[in-house]
């Protein structure tokens, strides 16, 4: 028969255990933090997810080699979303409910990401979105959703419209965009800000399907409107074909492209047809840059992935790499006693935080979680992307709605 003292001690121990269990966050152990990640590594948008996965994994490997986060190693559970919103939702459900991850790191495109947002909001897990610019990630504001290196589509619209109207002196602008979420959003944003800021109505808007290989009908339609600027939003493979065909069809207009094409990937596919094309970069340095910081980073990347083709590493490798470091900084600032609330609070302390020389400055506040509002104008000269000194003069209006 047990005496009173041992029973009290056992009861206290049980109470302690139950309190610990109540406090323990899913996906966090004494030694590890499990992060769920997803992106397209097969299909026509695989260039996004392959870069995202590889850049993220390189960062995780380096972080773990340096001791991890507050004594814990990062573990990644990765799912392929094939660029489909329904597959992405299935992936996120598996990662949260089955794999019991602590938080999500999204290296998916907008098309897939939008399919996950309601579920992630409902579950309350932190999702750090590296690439997707679709507005629902950050608007309406949700405490647990953060956008890293990319920016919100309306910001694209502001910058694109000012650049096209001011730098390109475009008066007759044609827009050619894919029908999926991201290129359609970019086209809509450009059209909106061209009209509202510069009273320019596009002379033609033509759409295509992801994976299309022939753009003759759209280009002939655009040629008939005689634009002085064509803004193209889609994937690099599609842009490469469209640019070649535009030249073949003698379409004489300056070409502006969306941010996913301001990259080595696009240059590798479009080759000499890329000359003179302009767009905005999401990072201060692009792969292929002669800058010492980029060369040093590329050497590390190539040591890890020696057999990948021309065009890799791409912008998505860099974004995911730098964003994973930023996310890890958030985890570190959250402290040893890691919880979702503490992580959110820690990320909201970022004010112009840069995880390294390749990273764009990130700011999160209690009112908005759009990390990046800066874009660097670039133009292809001599087969390489070169920085332009042009800077937008109009102040951004997009943060007003968060006030």
């Amino acid at each position: 028969m047990l005496g009173r003292k041992p029973i009290i001690l056992m009861a206290l121990a049980a109470l302690g255990l139950s309190l610990t269990a109540a406090r323990a966050e899913q996906g966090v152990t004494n030694d590890t933090i499990t992060i769920g990640a997803f992106g397209p590594i097969t299909g026509p948008a695989a260039y996004i997810g392959l870069g995202g996965r590889d850049g993220m994994n390189l960062a995780v490997k380096q972080i773990n080699a340096a001791g991890g986060i507050n004594g814990r190693k990062l573990q990644i559970a990765f799912e392929d979303d094939t660029h489909s919103p329904t597959r992405a939702l299935a992936a996120v459900k598996k990662l949260i409910d089955q794999d019991q991850v602590f938080a999500l790191f999204c290296v998916a495109g907008s098309n897939a990401t939008v399919g996950t947002i309601d579920f992630v909001k409902e579950k309350g897990r932190v999702m750090y979105v590296s690439f997707a610019s679709a507005p629902p990630v950050t608007w309406p504001f949700s405490r647990n959703l953060f956008r890293g290196g990319t920016t919100e589509v309306p910001r694209y619209g502001e910058m694109y419209a000012e650049f096209v109207a001011d730098y390109f002196k475009g008066k007759k602008v044609a827009i050619m965009n894919g029908r999926e979420e991201y290129p359609k959003n970019e086209g809509n944003a450009l059209e909106k800000y061209l009209q509202s800021w510069f009273s320019i109505t596009p002379v033609k808007r033509a759409e295509f399907n992801i994976g299309d290989k022939d753009f003759t009908p759209q280009l002939l339609e655009i040629r008939s409107a005689a634009p002085d600027v064509i803004a193209f939003f889609g994937n690099p493979a599609e842009a490469a074909i469209a640019l070649r065909q535009a030249k073949e069809l003698d379409v004489k207009a300056r070409i502006f492209v969306g941010t996913t094409m301001v990259d080595q990937n696009f240059l590798a596919a479009a080759k000499e047809n890329a000359e003179g094309v302009a767009g905005f970069a999401l990072t201060p340095l692009l792969p292929g840059s002669p800058h010492a910081d980029m060369k040093a980073w590329e050497a590390k990347w190539k040591a890890e992935y020696p057999n990948l083709p021309v065009g890799r590493p791409n912008i998505f490798d860099i974004l995911a790499y730098t964003d994973m470091y930023a996310f890890a900084e958030g985890l570190k600032r959250a402290g040893k006693d890691l919880t979702t609330d503490k992580l959110i609070g820690a990320l909201e302390t970022f004010a112009g935080y840069r995880s390294g020389p390749l990273a764009t400055p990130l700011t999160f506040t209690k009112k908005h979680h759009i990390g990046n509002l800066r874009l660097q104008p670039m133009q292809v000269k001599g087969g390489q992307w070169e920085q332009l000194s042009w800077e937008g003069k109009r102040p951004s209006e997009i943060l007003k709605r968060y006030e």
Binding site: L50, P217, Q218, E248, L249, D250, P309
Partner: protein
């Protein structure tokens, strides 16, 4: 729409249609010989593109050496596929054989992904260059090569089937396997040759497409269009397969121009159904007649 634009669209449609025609041809040849619909035919184009890529990048072979070597390797793959997958189950229900070929296609695509993932690769060809202006129409040399290659393949096949002993043997097998066997024709070797030929034509389609659209595992995503082209043509006629491919390419391109990208795939398939309602055996096909 001006006539200049109509002409430009026609060139574009014929170029796209030529690729469909090649895939359709490669579907029709083994079907005529062995009665098997090869659902891995699209992946033969994938295989051709990646074999070409490997030969060009790993061995530094020039394009004109790489192309025949690729076709040879692909033909060898066709032989292996026929001997190891198709022939052992040829007596099984048709559906079973079709699914087996479908499985081969999935294996090819997955194997390619294991080695190269879904990264976009490019393959340079010596004929890719500035467009040629022909009046108001601008002709892309790469597309001209595709059209020329398709017409050459059809011409060579026609000559082969009409004038060579083996070609005639293949035709005999296509008409009646038992009668051909009784006449001393090696039906097994005809089957094998038909699959080799089809694999090589599929690989050629991949090689021709690669310099234009780049190489990913999805480059061979043409089986559906090839099938439609073959069905329009009648599925038993080589000329019909080519005509079906060209017609499909033209329909797609003009549908895109008139009705927008959304209707690019809707209009041609509606017309396919209309054609089949009017001519159930396709434009050039005939109903099989059996003496009873």
């Amino acid at each position: 729409m001006s006539w200049q634009i109509a002409l430009q669209l026609a060139f574009s449609g014929l170029s796209v249609g030529s690729i469909y025609a090649l895939v359709a041809l490669a579907l029709v040849i083994p079907f005529k010989a062995s009665g098997v619909l090869n659902f891995a035919q699209g992946e033969m184009a994938t295989l051709g593109a990646y074999i070409g890529l490997a030969l060009a990048t790993n061995f530094g072979l020039p394009f004109l050496v790489m192309v025949p070597l690729t076709l040879l390797v692909a033909a060898g793959f066709g032989v292996l596929m026929e001997r190891l997958v198709v022939r052992p189950i040829i007596a099984a229900p048709e559906f079973t054989v079709v699914i087996a070929t479908f499985a081969v296609g999935v294996i090819i695509k997955s194997a390619v992904r294991v080695q190269w993932q879904d990264n976009l690769f490019t393959l340079d060809a010596p004929y890719v260059g500035a467009p040629i202006a022909l009046g108001p129409v601008r002709l892309n040399p790469a597309y001209l090569v595709i059209i020329a290659a398709t017409l050459s393949v059809v011409g060579l096949l026609t000559l082969f089937f009409a004038n060579t002993k083996f070609g005639k043997a293949m035709r005999a097998v296509a008409i009646d396997q038992n009668a051909a066997r009784l006449m001393g024709i090696g039906v097994g070797s005809v089957f094998m040759s038909a699959w080799a030929l089809a694999a090589a034509i599929g690989a050629l389609a991949g090689l021709l497409l690669a310099p234009i659209i780049g190489i990913t595992p999805e480059i061979g995503h043409l089986i559906l269009k090839g099938l439609v082209a073959a069905v329009i043509g009648g599925f038993t006629s080589l000329g019909g397969a080519v005509a079906g491919g060209l017609l499909l390419g033209l329909l797609e391109t003009y549908a895109g121009a008139f009705f927008g990208a959304t209707f690019k795939n809707i209009v041609p398939f509606c017309i396919l159904i209309a054609i089949l309602l009017y001519k159930p055996h396709g434009l050039f096909g005939t109903a099989a007649v059996k003496r009873v």
